[in-house]
């Protein structure tokens, strides 16, 4: 099987054509030299690896190796989940405080705890109109109990959210991928933080590109699908939606693969990495797409269990139970995402079977 043989064990060499001088983290520099030069030490040299893992040979092997790597570094899972939770708490702070000081003393809170009924949305949306109607008859008519403010703060949080996700996500990914690149060396916080800082700016740029690409390609497809549904051509709508899903998947794979190649190749030139990722994706899509298929299928299964199996039976007002189940679900989702990144990282260690070259040895 050509693809099975395409990723055989081989240490990751430096990116031959990386012209970003000076490389802040020469992959093979000895620790003492790096420390002398002001660079953070590499966790270990290949020579000191206790038991080098056998790199995967296919998408399935990447999936399995990714799972074992993710389990090997629980710090990454814990950190990702903690940052996710803290960022959400930060965003939720203002709405939560307003909720406590305004409608928190209204019996309607009990209804809201059971789920936000449509009447409440409608009433909140319409309350300015109703207040205007009442203003003639009751000068002090104060229909607002603060729900509108809660929704405004929530809306503001929703607007800030993509920016916060972009900043924090780009920061974490550098460290996470550095850790996976250095596997199976023990996790070191200093190394992680160095990786996060080192690739933060390039990954921010990459994230912006990814967002722009989504607006450029995804938005028209989704809008077209909605328009097709509205126009009564449901078949066209479904085709466009399927196309949008495929484009989304390819885009995700391309940009994630780019980040991984950048870290594996120790380059901050994300444009070159993007070009290489695109070429590799076209030339050897099978293991990558298989890995994506497996992780996305696992995520779909997880969603099904959570949304169809657990959510319907969870009493929404039992907040502690809901909190525990939801956080477990989110942690599992993060685990799957880390698994995918780890699996992709291990794929970079394998050479091209046809040219017997590493992906990083391709011509720039």
């Amino acid at each position: 099987m050509p693809d099975d043989a395409s990723f055989i064990s081989r240490p990751s060499p430096p990116l031959a054509a990386d012209h970003n001088p000076p490389s802040p983290s020469p992959p093979l520099a000895p620790d003492h030299a790096r420390e002398n030069s002001g660079h953070p030490p590499r966790s270990s040299t290949p020579e000191t690896n206790p038991t080098p893992p056998r790199p995967p040979q296919s998408g399935w092997h990447a999936f399995r190796t990714g799972a074992s790597l993710t389990a090997r570094y629980p710090q990454l899972l814990l950190l990702s989940w903690a940052v996710n939770l803290l960022a959400a708490l930060l965003l939720a702070a203002l709405p939560a405080i307003t909720l406590a000081t305004g409608p928190g003393n209204r019996p309607v809170m009990r209804d809201m705890a059971d789920g936000l009924d449509t009447w409440l949305w409608i009433e909140t949306l319409m309350s300015p109109q109703a207040a205007m109607q009442l203003s003639g008859t009751a000068p002090d008519a104060g229909l607002s109990i603060g729900l509108g403010t809660v929704f405004l703060w929530t809306l503001l949080a929703a607007l800030i959210l993509p920016v916060l996700a972009w900043l924090a996500g780009a920061f974490l990914q550098g460290g996470i991928l550095t850790a996976y690149r250095d596997a199976p060396l023990p996790f070191r916080w200093r190394r992680f933080l160095w990786g996060s800082w080192h690739w933060w700016a390039p990954f921010l740029l990459l994230g912006a590109l990814q967002g722009f690409a989504a607006l450029l390609f995804l938005l028209p497809l989704v809008a077209g699908a909605l328009f097709a549904f509205a126009a009564g051509t449901a078949a066209l709508g479904w085709i466009l939606l399927a196309l949008a899903a495929a484009v989304n998947l390819l885009g995700l794979a391309l940009f994630e693969w780019t980040r991984i190649l950048a870290v594996a190749g120790d380059t901050r030139d994300v444009f070159r990495a993007l070009g290489r990722a695109a070429r590799l994706l076209v030339r050897r899509p099978r293991p990558i797409l298989l890995l994506y298929f497996l992780t996305l299928a696992a995520a779909a299964l997880l969603h099904a269990v959570y949304r169809l199996g657990l959510l319907p039976i969870l009493p929404l007002d039992a907040w502690l139970l809901v909190l525990l189940v939801a956080q477990t679900f989110l942690a599992a989702r993060i685990f799957l995402r880390l698994l995918r990144l780890a699996g992709l990282s291990t794929l970079t260690a394998a050479p091209n079977p046809r040219s017997a070259e590493s992906p990083f040895q391709e011509a720039p």
Binding site: T118, A141, W319
Partner: protein, 647 residues
């Protein structure tokens, strides 16, 4: 008044078996001089046939068959290629009033679609329910001859707009007498627009023949065809013979009798309906029929093949309507009910009521095709609403032009009530994993846009959005509020009494007020003076709250009687009635445990309340509920962070 001597023994027997309720003593509006028992009251000149003897003396209206005031015998031919009608009709009109009738006034509804300059087009614009009016496919009707039956020609003169015309009679029709007239007419059907017309081979033929107004003793009650207004007509027997190509499947008001095929490739089908106010028919070669029998009524769903998925849903909704409305108000009075499906590009023909025939449609409230998904209940909503009109328009025949809130409001109240029971209050219109919408929610949203608009008023005095609020949303909300105040049993008693008393009659708002106050035993000025005729609005809230007293406040001028639920620290509660006449009232409890919370209208019976969320107040934070909400908010934010940033 001459009773039917043959039926007298049976009537007396029924009277002995069934006690006469108090309401039966009220005179029937059509026969004010009638005295109970009911069948004694049918005036001469009016066909007096007791169809349900046992029920006859339960109430006056159940006694006689509907009066034949304006009866039509029509012979019409459809040219399916040219989309034209050629008709000949004989009208037999009975003057049931005490004044002579000097003239005739006819509605010529199809002329509303003849040009952009008609009243209908100017008011409503050239677009109706997504169907544009096409000047190349306009509609019109022309009376080619009007004469006294077997007699002289009458001169028909346009009154206004081409949709209303008048003919002077050589001699007035005396009170209690009848007269017959012959009318020849040609009509061009428009491409489907405002309930009538054709799309391809599909025909929905409504408002299609010259139709008399309603003589009310001092003149004809008839208006030009306004965009918002619907119809108003006398009861009568319709005997309609339709000739059209033999490959068409048809349905109509009434029962089919004596179909006949001809050698020239045409067929003739005769329909007959008694006690109806209108006659509409439909035809398409593609129609397929599905039928059920519900409480002795033949229920027919005529559907197009592309909508085969809708058969069970439409029949289920229509059956539930027949059963529940029959239980709530009184039995459906006709032997058959046909629900007609319409093509996707002819949605303008959908969602309309005629006696014994209603049109539905498969378009969604979201503007998207409903499809086979059960999540979108637009199909059920429209079927239940239109079938509801069989009670509140076809049988209790309000004047839809002058008081549209009565027929649309009563029907929408019935629809909201039923579909909420069938599919859940919160999911009756839309039930998806992400968004739910109850029909009541949708109606309340419309109501909140302009809650002060009076419900009462002629259709043409409202603009488009106001009309929806005044005729549909606010009446449904107001009647649900009335039910909340009176209780469900009393409300159904009010509605069923009103239905029985005014079956086959033309009641007004004041007639409903009389019945409602009589049956409930309450002064309902807050409902009629402030809500129906007036522009009053209301918002209940809690003003002040301390350990021993609570002050509740009515904002706005609508005093809807309600209750205040007060909860004390020891877990006990008190439900205080509050008539809301005073805008503010304080309840004090010096000898009880400290007050924990207070809530006005805790069951949310006052649906007209502008804001339910501010109805209650607690001295303490609802910590557990707050945490539940914050937990969920945090979770959703975490999900979004994962999607956007891979966190």
């Amino acid at each position: 008044m001459t009773p039917s001597s043959r039926l007298l023994p049976l009537v007396l027997l029924a009277a002995l078996l069934v006690p006469l309720p108090a309401t039966a003593a009220t005179p029937h509006p059509h026969f004010p001089d009638a005295s109970p028992p009911c069948c004694f009251g049918c005036p001469s000149g009016v066909a007096a046939r007791c169809s349900h003897l046992a029920a006859c003396c339960l109430d006056l209206a159940a006694c006689c068959s509907p009066p034949d005031v304006a009866s039509y015998t029509i012979d019409v031919t459809l040219d399916a290629e040219a989309k034209t009608l050629t008709g000949h009709q004989v009208i037999t009109y009975v003057n049931t009033t005490d004044r002579p009738i000097p003239d005739l006034v006819f509605h010529l509804y199809l002329n509303a679609f003849s040009s952009r300059d008609t009243l209908f087009m100017r008011e409503g614009g050239p677009m109706h329910r997504g169907n544009p009016w096409d000047p190349a496919q306009a509609g019109w009707i022309e009376v080619t001859a009007l004469r006294l039956a077997g007699g002289s020609l009458l001169d028909l003169v346009e009154i206004k707009d081409g949709t209303l015309a008048r003919a002077e009679l050589p001699t007035p029709i005396p009170p209690g007498e009848s007269a017959s007239f012959e009318v020849d007419f040609d009509a061009q059907l428009p491409r489907v627009f405002a309930r009538t017309g054709y799309v391809g081979d599909f025909f929905m033929v409504g408002q299609w023949f010259p139709k008399l107004g309603v003589w009310e003793g001092d003149g004809w009650n008839a208006y030009p065809f306004h965009a918002n207004a619907e119809f108003y007509a006398d009861f009568g027997t319709y005997d309609v013979t339709i000739t059209l190509p033999d490959h068409f499947v048809t349905a109509a008001t009434g029962l089919p009798v004596s179909p006949a095929a001809h050698e020239d490739g045409t067929q003739t089908i005769r329909y007959r309906a008694e006690g109806v106010i209108d006659f509409a028919w439909t035809a398409s070669p593609d129609f397929q029929a599905a039928t059920r029998t519900v409480d002795g009524v033949e229920l027919v769903y005529l559907y197009l093949p592309e909508h085969a998925w809708s058969v069970d849903r439409a029949l289920d909704a229509a059956e539930a309507s027949l059963v529940h409305f029959g239980q709530w108000y009184g039995p459906y009075p006709y032997p058959r009910l046909t629900v007609v499906d319409v093509p996707d590009d002819g949605e303008g023909a959908g969602g309309m009521e005629y006696p014994m025939l209603v049109t539905a449609g498969t378009m969604s409230i979201t503007g998207l095709p409903v499809g086979e998904s059960q999540a979108d209940r637009s199909l059920e909503v429209v079927v239940i609403h239109e079938v509801g009109h069989q009670w509140w328009q076809s049988t209790v025949a309000f004047n839809e032009a002058e008081e549209p809130w009565l027929d649309e409001g009563f029907t929408e109240y019935s629809a909201v009530r039923l579909i909420g029971q069938l599919h859940g209050e919160d999911t009756s219109a839309l039930d998806t994993p992400f968004v739910d919408l109850g029909l009541l929610d949708a109606r309340r949203m419309e109501y909140l846009l302009s809650p002060g608009v009076p419900m009462y008023g002629p259709a043409w005095e409202f603009d488009g959005l106001e009309y929806v609020t005044a005729a549909y949303s606010k009446p449904a909300i107001a009647l649900l509020t009335l039910e909340g105040v009176l209780g469900s049993d009393v409300m159904l008693d009010v509605m069923s009494t009103f239905y029985r008393r005014y079956q086959f009659a033309h009641p007004t708002t004041e007639d409903f007020r009389a019945v409602a106050e009589e049956v409930s035993g309450q002064d309902l000025s807050w409902f009629f003076a402030d809500l129906v005729y007036g522009d009053a609005i209301v918002n209940y809230t809690v003003g002040d709250l301390d350990a021993s007293s609570v002050t509740v406040v009515r904002q706005g001028g609508l005093p809807v009687p309600t209750e205040v639920l007060i909860t004390f620290a020891d877990g006990t509660t008190i439900l205080e009635p509050w008539d809301a006449v005073q805008p503010e009232v304080t309840f004090t409890y010096p000898d009880r445990a400290p007050i924990l919370s207070a809530e006005v209208d805790p069951d949310r019976d006052v649906v007209v309340d502008l804001n339910w969320a501010d109805n209650g107040l607690s001295r303490d934070l609802y910590t557990s509920s707050w945490l539940a909400l914050v937990t969920r908010l945090v979770y959703y934010l975490q999900e979004a962070l994962l999607i956007f940033g891979g966190l």
